[in-house]
Amino acid sequence: MTNETARQPSSIELDRRAFRRQQATRSVLLSVGSTLLFAAVVVVTLSLLPGWPRVRDTFFDLGTAAQAWPRVANGFLLNLRVLAYSVITVSICGMALALLRTLRSPVLFPVRALATGYTDLFRGTPLIVVLYLVGFGIPGLQGPRGVIIPTEVLGTIAITLTYSAYVSEVLRAGIESVHPSQRLAARSLGLSHGQSMRIVIIPQAIRKVGPALMNDFVSMQKDVGLISILGAVDAIRAAGIETAKAFNFTPYVLAGLLFVLLAIPTIRLTDWYTARQRRREQMGSIV
């Protein structure tokens, strides 16, 4: 290694490096240029359309946005809380379901069948239906008198029911993609079934399906906006109230923007993770 760093590259290699740098600069300039051009075309086209000024005023009015901000932001905190609870409950339930479905013992067939039925059912049912059923069904059962279940709990339950089904499918695919010899190798060392799962299989499974899991997380981030149909004053419901007050749709755009901002870090993280995994698998080769 040491003589490698001390060695002066040949003039051919220096030429090649200079050429690569030049190419890189050109690509960057090209992409910046084309982006700017595209943006200019969009702006000019919009401003030429006759309805644009009205659309601009009803959807992108800064004054309305400022007025709606406190209420929408406050509602958004409710979305964030439901998201935080759901991440925890979905992780636990999704993993539990996935593990149930990978049990092999013939004696446990009923458990496996139940878990399979559950995932089929909840992956097929639109979240909005589940939200209605949970949001109005559970309170309708009239449990202990005087107990009112907060909407954020009901929302969390509905999201957990649906997303556990998705996440368990992803995790199960990951668990089954780990080569069977890994399980044998783990058991041959004397690890119990649970230990093999925890120490050997699940860590590999999660690495394999990491991007798919993060994808589900992104959809969950925006689906927490649906709890507004339960009557909770979340960002979307708050935006609705402000919209009605101002006769202007800007509050909805504002709420939408908040959801986008929330999603971007996760999306970027997913990209980064996928790229890193690809790099690791290619082990230095460039094609």
Partner: protein
Amino acid sequence: MSVLRLEGIHKNYGDAAVLRGIDLAVDAHEVIAVIGASGSGKSTLLRAINLLEPIDDGQIWLGEQDISDPRTKADAVRARIGFVFQHLNLFPHLSVIDNVTLASRHVLRVPIAEATATGMALLERIGLADKAQEYPDRLSGGQQQRAAIVRAVATNPELLLLDEVTSALDPELVGEVLELVRELGAEGTTIIMATHEMAFARDVATRVVFLDQGVIAEEGTPAQVFGAPRNARTKEFLARFTA
């Protein structure tokens, strides 16, 4: 007393009888080479001994314990036996040292410092100490197999089972792995190895067992089995390797 005793082991896959009554007693410090055609049941036998494969009849004694009794705790038995497969032994998400110390830490509950010291000494011995923190995919195939073998002996097992540990390797990597097996044998580790490396079996094994049609068709010292096979099928099988 034998380390391992097999009595009338039978194993079927569906209608196919793969093992049809295997009797074998293995004493301490023996190195047994199990040879036989592809599909003769060598892997099946080793997996049965490690309780990775349920048997259909017979008894397996490890020391004084009948480990084929369904009441035995299979995990505890496997912790007393080391097993190395043909390939994909190491866990790719764990560093080499974590692989080597895994069973000590999680099965024997050895304190981590002690397990690491033992593991590093083993890696030192096979010349992989500088790769301890690397992940297995950075190792050559031969290095991976040698790491897998020291992982199997890290817990001081009573018996080491090796299932064709060199058959997935490039020819130039075979030597270093066999050398490690030879050393372990010379140090007194009790070994049963399935192998297609006849020269190695002749060299290192204290006893050779020829598996054919589900039974032990011939067994004896390497000199007997390779030098003067009595069974016609053994002769036929060996002829293919000396051709």
